[in-house]
């Protein structure tokens, strides 16, 4: 996708004025939060599991080289192939070569954010291989030519009547008078159409929620079953996963699985958790003949061993964006990068460069809700603040803001001058308000006064009051 994160403010203005989008975002504002709270509350050990999950991932990251080697050895032993890709370009080329080795015409796809990150669909299509998204949400946005607006609910910005219009536009071989007024009929239509695509595909490409070093397995977690049909029906199964998906053992994965669905959708467990190891065995009547895993770096090793390492604990549940007031207001597309919301504000700069994405760590109120619900206890506001520091150090902050802060710092470093200036400013503002107690418009603060009045100062500053001794107990 085209990165438009540098236009976040403009994107956000459009999003706020889009009634269709605002209607769709209502579902995020309510559903996800209540469901997660209920699911977490129903498991007394939830908080202790979070701590253990954090320790598991910290341990895995500190020993990542060794677990990658152990994982690779097990995959190879089971008859599979492991490929390492430093960049998105390397990963795309590896996948294309595998597809070409069997003359593939179509590739079905399970939902994968890594695939979005490396722009796999466009690349396959340019090279004559049709990518077919099979997750209902991904299928909808593929028809619309859009990127996902949420990491677990890619079409959360789309309303039902838009889905109906898209299906009528694309599925032209079906009766134009058919009834598509219910979500069930839309789902049934997608199921029937995709069933044929599953059976005809040459290659199936899935992501992975976990890679297990103990057994050389990849794990996918879905509700629809599309990931499973993607990986058991075609001749070749390709897994694309970033390197921090490694966990040591199935026991460790079980601990994190107890947090994943509860944090994401408020389910106790997603419907399908599938553990795949190598290709089909000689006696197996079904399953893929070849199994490939592409392990992607793409900027992650540069986070390892730095203040950003904690971000690599992320399990992509989406709880941070589900609880983010900024995401609730503007939705995922406004962020203009692959990963939206708080986790994206930390991850996107590492992957796509701070120059293009520095607006994202600023697209936060630092209310801290993301950190409080993160199952992996990632200190998201702290990590966003690190990016803000880097933004300032590298001179990426717009000059008006830099001068503004410098101007303020000049006074802040000289307390007597600061107190004098604020005393004068308060008096001037008080006079300017002419006793009305509020401003309906104020120069330099139009952004505030356009939507609400600004209260006027009614007396001395806090410091003046404090010094005078009034109000002290």
């Amino acid at each position: 996708m085209e990165i438009t994160a540098d236009r976040f403010k403009e994107n956000a203005r459009h999003a706020l004025a889009d009634p269709q989008l605002q209607r769709a975002l209502n579902h995020v504002r309510h559903n996800f939060i209540d469901k997660r709270a209920k699911a977490a509350g129903a498991l007394p050990e939830f908080e202790e599991l979070r701590k253990q999950a954090r320790a598991i991932k910290d341990h895995a990251l500190d020993h990542l080289d060794l677990y990658l080697e152990a994982y690779e050895a097990r995959v190879t032993e089971a008859g599979g192939h492991v490929h390492y890709a430093e960049t998105g370009e390397d990963a795309r080329k590896i996948i294309l070569d595998i597809c070409r080795s069997v003359g593939a015409k179509t590739a079905t796809k399970g939902k994968s954010m890594i695939s979005e990150e490396i722009g796999l669909n466009d690349f396959l299509a340019e090279n004559g291989i049709e990518p077919v998204e099979t997750d209902l949400g991904e299928y909808i946005i593929q028809l619309r030519g859009e990127a996902p607006s949420h990491i677990i609910a890619p079409a959360v910005h789309v309303n039902q009547d838009q889905v109906e219009a898209d299906f009528r536009r694309v599925h032209t071989h079906l009766d134009p008078n058919r009834d598509l007024s219910e979500p069930t009929s839309l789902l049934a239509e997608a199921r029937a159409i995709l069933r044929d695509r599953f059976l005809a595909a040459d290659v199936g490409i899935t992501g992975a929620n976990f890679l297990i070093a103990e057994t050389g397995s990849s794990i996918i977690v879905t509700n629809e079953g599309n990931g499973d049909l993607t990986q058991i029906l075609p001749r070749i199964h390709i897994v694309i996963a970033s390197l921090e998906k490694i966990v040591p053992t199935l026991m460790d994965a079980s601990t994190i699985l107890r947090l994943l669905a509860r944090s994401a959708t408020g389910q106790e467990m997603s419907v399908y958790t599938t553990v795949s190891t190598g290709p089909r065995r000689p006696e197996d009547p079904d399953g893929p003949a070849e199994y490939h895993v592409v392990i992607l770096d793409n900027g992650r090793t540069a986070m390892l061993g730095t203040e950003y390492q904690e971000m690599l604990r992320c399990i992509r549940c989406g709880a941070c964006m589900n609880h983010c007031p900024v995401y609730h207001a503007v939705g995922g597309h406004a962020y203009g990068a692959v990963y939206p919301g708080p986790m994206g504000a930390v991850l996107d700069p590492a992957i796509f460069g701070l120059e293009k994405t520095y607006e994202l760590p600023n697209a936060s109120t630092f209310c801290g809700r993301c950190e409080s619900v993160c199952p992996m206890m990632i200190p998201l506001p702290k990590l966003m603040r690190h990016w803000r520091d880097k933004e300032f150090e590298r001179g990426l902050t717009p000059s008006t803001q830099r001068y503004g802060i410098r101007f303020w710092a000049f006074f802040a470093r000289r307390p007597w001058l600061y107190h004098l200036a604020t005393r004068i400013a308060m008096r001037v503002l008080g006079l300017y308000a002419r006793g009305r107690g509020r401003f309906t418009s104020l120069p330099l603060a139009e952004g505030w006064t356009r939507h609400r009045d600004m209260p006027a100062p009614t007396g001395p500053t806090f410091m003046a009051l404090y010094k005078s001794g009034k109000g002290r107990s």
Binding site: H63, E69, L136, R191, S254, V271, G287, G305
Partner: protein
């Protein structure tokens, strides 16, 4: 330089390690050789009767249907009954599982049974689960000729036989059992953890059953 050496080199430089430090290799080997369970929630830690009851309750909560049977001999008639009650064709597909083969199918003479993987044209499949997990009402099925994986996903209705003695309190107990059966570090091609029938909430967050997998999951708990 290969992608492998480049990526592993970057990891090691970032962590400031060579990969040969004995403290690190020892810690990793210990963890992989003797996988230990982490905190297991108290919810599923019940006696056999309690586990069966919790399994049924959790499975029903996610829209599976559960039927208790006293003996494996009751299974063929229960399958027939389910098909008739839901107006389904009297035909199921199953794998080569010896337990399934040894059931008294003569008690349901009109039921046709097909064997092998599914090509997508079967309405109903019949599998035997390796285990159940009480804490979330989850079935665990293993791939192979006994219970082909396609049977878990392609048919509209999936009927699964589960021995009551195979219901564990938690996932960890089942991983241990699989490890004992297949050997350390080894797994069948696919292990499916299935919790209810297929669903999607991708259209306006409305939950609908029957996405790409089965629309109905019927579990026969035996014993």
């Amino acid at each position: 330089m290969s992608g492998r050496d480049a990526v592993l080199g970057k990891v090691r430089r970032a962590l400031g390690v060579s990969g040969a430090e004995t403290a690190r290799t020892g810690a990793v080997a210990a963890r992989l050789d003797e996988p230990k369970a982490n905190l297991i929630p108290a919810r599923g830690q019940l006696d056999r009767k309690g586990r069966v009851a919790l399994f049924a309750q959790m499975a029903e909560r996610v829209s599976a249907t559960v039927e208790r049977l006293a003996s494996p001999d009751d299974v063929p008639e229960a399958v027939g009954r389910h098909l008739r009650a839901h107006n389904l064709p009297m035909r199921v597909r199953n794998g080569a599982d010896l337990v399934l083969a040894s059931l008294p199918w003569e008690r349901e003479p009109h039921l046709e049974r097909l064997e092998g993987a599914s090509d997508g044209r079967d309405a109903v499949s019949f599998s035997r689960a390796f285990a159940g997990v009480a804490e979330s009402g989850t079935l665990m099925l293993l791939s192979g000729e006994d219970n082909p994986t396609t049977l878990n996903f392609l048919p509209d209705t999936h009927i699964v036989m589960l021995g009551a003695e195979d219901i564990a309190g938690d996932y960890e107990t089942v991983w241990k059992r699989i490890r004992e059966t297949y050997g350390p570090g080894k797994l069948p091609r696919t292990v499916n953890l299935i919790t209810g029938p297929s669903r999607s909430a991708d259209i306006e967050q409305t939950l609908i059953l029957g996405a790409h997998g089965p629309r109905a999951l019927h579990i026969l708990v035996v014993g």
